[in-house]
């Protein structure tokens, strides 16, 4: 069974952390993954940097620009990760935009992911219908879970379609925004979380966008299976470096 599915079966709320590969320094990737696992994080999203990340706010865009300047490429990332399964067992997801994968070759990319032990992908600008028609068979061939986003504006009908195509979890974007734009949740979010909860989807949901501390983590996971922290973690390593990941994770989980 895919590590993501195994993890989703655990009877606990899951914490997923996003970081940009090659940032702050080109060789930080493996160390960050190991530290996150050691400190009790449940899932990791490895950001493959892109020059024009449309869905991201300034924090993640700046980290991506810096990572690219540091020399990060798809090839470099795969090399860094080639022995990652010797040291960690945590589910790993690569999150990136479609063009770099498209240039690498979608099948070659998926094959490489399987060899390394990547469990899933999140590609914000690959629409669900294109995935379904052109790439789903390739992802399945290499045992990769593809994770789709939904937002408060996504219709019930479309959410059900996304649910039917998904085989891991659904990435529930908490508000109409880019990453790192808003913090905290209001009535609108609560209403949205309840609406999705009432749809009784087959895939569990993990909430992302707007989660930065224990309070927002607890609120997000009231209805959902877990929550994702991205910009707040990138900010943390920008300000503090990668030496105090334990403190960051502890703060999220225990306040």
């Amino acid at each position: 069974m895919n590590r993501i599915n195994q993890k989703l079966q655990e009877n606990k709320k899951l914490l997923s952390i996003y970081f940009t590969a090659g940032y702050p320094n080109i060789d930080d990737t493996v160390k960050i993954i190991q530290d996150l696992e050691k400190n009790g994080v449940d899932l990791i999203e490895i950001g493959l940097p892109f020059s024009d990340p449309l869905a991201d706010g300034p924090t993640i865009q700046d980290s991506s620009t810096k990572a690219l300047k540091n020399g990060m490429t798809t090839e470099v990332l795969f090399n860094q990760l080639k022995d990652i399964r010797k040291s960690v067992n945590i589910p790993l997801i690569i999150m990136g935009y479609f063009n770099p994968m498209f240039q690498y070759g979608v099948e070659a990319f998926c094959k490489k992911c399987q060899e390394i032990g990547i469990d899933g992908l999140i590609i914000p600008d690959l629409p669900v219908d294109v995935f379904h028609e052109e790439y789903q068979a390739i992802f399945e061939k290499y045992g990769l879970i593809n994770v789709f986003l939904i937002t408060p504006q996504t219709s019930d009908e479309r959410i059900r379609f996304i649910d039917s195509i998904s085989n891991g979890f659904i990435y529930m974007v908490s508000s109409a925004s880019t990453t790192g734009a808003k913090s905290g949740f209001g009535d609108e979010q609560t209403h949205y979380f309840e609406r999705i909860n009432n749809l009784n989807l087959k895939n569990p949901q993990i909430v992302g966008f707007g989660i930065s501390n224990n309070e927002t983590f607890t609120a997000a996971t009231k209805y959902a299976k877990g929550a994702i922290i991205g910009s707040a973690f990138v900010k943390h390593v920008t300000n503090e470096g990668i030496g105090t990941i334990d403190g960051f994770v502890n703060n999220i989980l225990n306040g």
Binding site: S51, L54, Y97, N99, P127, V130, T178
Partner: protein, 608 residues
């Protein structure tokens, strides 16, 4: 004009006629007709609309047949009421909506008043000759009656049209009566026997009318693709916004009220039609016939305003209160700020921090027009990043905001919508050239391409005309191989930028690179998906012009014709040094903008 071939009865014959690529094929569901359709429809190209013809038929039967035969249009030939049409247009029982064509029979006179009630419940009218039987009487009516046509709804002209009418049709096309004529409907005059069409005569008819459409489709398809390019590669956060637009844009654009307001503003506010000017001295110098389509004479000084007028009217009909736009050199930003002022809507323009410094006069213009100019501080801080920021704004404001994209780029339906708004350029060229040269089609149409909106508009009505060659001019910057260039068709590979699959300048790793051109309007790392398709299929010839070649051509136009062109347009003008045309070739070139905004560049370059 489109062509509808009606009264199809035999499957083999349907396939033969379909090979001629008419726009509509008609099937008569009326038992008393000798052309009564009682068989199956073979698989036909998507570009041909299958049309069911009904006479006072029970509504449920009509709906059943639409669903059963996957009809895209219905033609109502009896006394169907406006209520009936409305039911058909709104029923939930249809798997996909159909175009509704209501037929009116015309003889010596016709009271156009009866159309009023049908104005809002059907898509087209069809005017047929009044006779004994409904439809198919085989002789024409006096088309000059249509001089009194009071509506703006497009109509089909029908009744006894055959090869003998070619001269009359050509006259009709030039007359005012044909202003809203959308299509010709032919039937009995092209038959061997009732329902069996003579393909050879149909082909001859098409050729004589110049309806000789090309086999390849260069327009967008139903899924938003031009060949392999286009689509909508957008994050889920943008899906509702783009989907709302996709579902509505064609519908809104087809509304008579919309068309009327759009046409009126283009005329009274923009100053259209823009002249088609025969550049005599330039023609003499290059020993060919050069016509310049003077988009530089539009209000705000470029073609950009055609699109912003269209999109602001679209935004208003979609109930949007807030307008965002991206701009590189500031031309599209100014055109957007202008229409926002005109309509009293809030306007936010994203512009790269570096461009803001380079284009101070346009920044001031936008501010005077009441727009807020927001610097894009990320990435390379130029056009591509301004576009990213505008898209991010749209993600954060999904409900009340419309994003006016300035070029024929972005996720579907943007490239098609922008192209349609700009297509007024080639629509005018057709009748203007007819006045000058006695023919609608030039030998060449040429335009410069950054994203490609002025080019898309210049080519649009010529895309499928076999006798018109298309030239696309890209900016080579310091030279195609210099590393400082914007010649996307040469340097680009297939990739995804700003929501569409197209040719794109990028690293091997798929990171988008920064293009260079002296012209701020041409340094975009991608190109519109329509143009990518034109390049790939070699429908268009792509030429690259360097900074130096463009600047010299710009100065040459000043000296020979007394026109200071925008540097973008100067790139197109430079092709006459690169490519030899014949003395009797007619070359129509889009002069997309005026050079006022580029004065400083010209001053610096020529040390004036």
């Amino acid at each position: 004009m489109k062509l509808k071939v009606c009264g199809m009865k035999y499957q083999d014959n349907m396939e033969q006629v379909a090979a001629l690529q008419p726009d509509y094929l008609g099937f008569i569901f009326y038992e008393k007709s000798p052309r009564h359709f009682d068989t199956k429809i073979p698989e036909l190209p998507d570009t041909i609309k299958k049309t069911g013809v009904f006479v006072n038929e029970d509504l449920n039967t009509v709906i059943e047949n639409i669903n059963k035969f996957n009809l895209q249009a219905v033609q109502l030939h009896g006394e169907e009421s406006p209520f009936y049409c409305n039911m058909l247009g709104t029923t939930k029982l249809l798997e996909t909506p159909v175009e509704i064509i209501k037929v009116f029979s015309v003889k010596d006179g016709f009271n156009f008043e009866v159309l009023k009630e049908y104005e809002s419940v059907c898509d087209y009218y069809l005017f047929d000759t009044k006779g004994k039987l409904p439809g198919g009487n085989g002789y024409t009516f006096d088309w000059s009656l249509l001089n009194n046509y009071p509506s703006t709804k497009p109509f089909f002209l029908s009744g006894g049209i055959g090869l003998d009418q070619v001269t009359d049709i050509k006259k009709f096309k030039e007359s005012n009566a044909s202003k809203y004529c959308y299509a010709l409907d032919v039937n009995s005059k092209f038959e061997i026997a009732p329902g069996l069409k003579n393909v050879a005569i149909l082909r001859e008819f098409q050729n004589k009318l110049g309806n000789n459409t090309m086999e390849e489709n260069y327009n967008v398809d139903e899924k938003g693709y031009y060949g392999e390019f286009g689509g909508a590669f957008i994050p889920e956060m943008l899906y509702p916004n783009v989907e709302e637009l996709r579902q509505n844009y064609l519908k809104v654009m087809a509304e008579p009220d919309f068309q009327k307001e759009f046409d009126q503003l283009l005329k009274d506010y923009v100053g259209r039609p823009s002249p088609l000017y025969f550049a005599k001295r330039l023609s003499e110098k290059y020993n060919t016939k050069i016509y310049l389509k003077r988009e530089d004479l539009n209000h705000t000084g470029a073609h950009k305003i055609n699109n912003t007028i269209g999109q602001i009217l679209m935004a208003k009909r979609l109930g949007k209160k807030r307008i965002i736009a991206e701009t590189g050199a500031g031309q599209h930003g100014v055109a957007t700020a202008t229409v926002c002022a005109l309509m009293g809507l809030e306007c936010i323009v994203y512009m790269g921090e570096i461009d803001i410094a380079r284009q101070a006069p346009n920044v001031a213009r936008m501010k005077m027009l009441g727009a807020k100019v927001v610097p894009a501080l990320s990435g390379s801080r130029t056009l591509k990043d301004a576009t990213n920021e505008a898209i991010r704004d749209w993600i954060n404001n999904p409900v009340n905001t419309h994003y006016i994209i300035g070029s024929a780029i972005g996720p579907h339906p943007y490239p098609d919508m922008v192209t349609r708004f700009q297509s007024v350029i080639s629509e005018e060229i057709k009748w203007q050239l007819k006045e000058h040269e006695g023919r609608e089609n030039p030998d060449y149409v040429a335009a410069c391409i950054g994203g490609g909106s002025n080019a898309a508009g210049t080519y649009y009505h010529y895309l499928h005309e076999k006798d018109v060659k298309i030239i696309a001019v890209e900016a080579a910057g310091l030279g195609v191989d210099s590393g400082e260039s914007a010649a996307t068709s040469v340097l680009g590979k297939e990739g995804i930028i700003h929501g569409c699959k197209t040719l794109l300048m990028q690293t091997n790793d798929g990171q988008i690179t920064e293009p260079y051109s002296i012209s701020a309007g041409l340094d975009y790392p991608g190109v519109g998906p329509m143009h990518a398709h034109l390049a790939k299929t070699e429908r268009a010839e792509f030429l690259s012009i360097t900074d130096d070649e463009a600047m010299k051509a710009g100065l040459e136009l000043c000296e020979l014709e007394g026109i200071i062109p925008a540097i973008e347009s100067s790139h197109a003008l430079a092709i006459f040094k690169q490519k030899q045309f014949k003395p009797d070739d007619v070359v129509v070139m889009s002069l997309s903008g005026r050079g006022d905004k580029d004065l400083q560049n010209y001053i610096d370059y020529f040390k004036i």
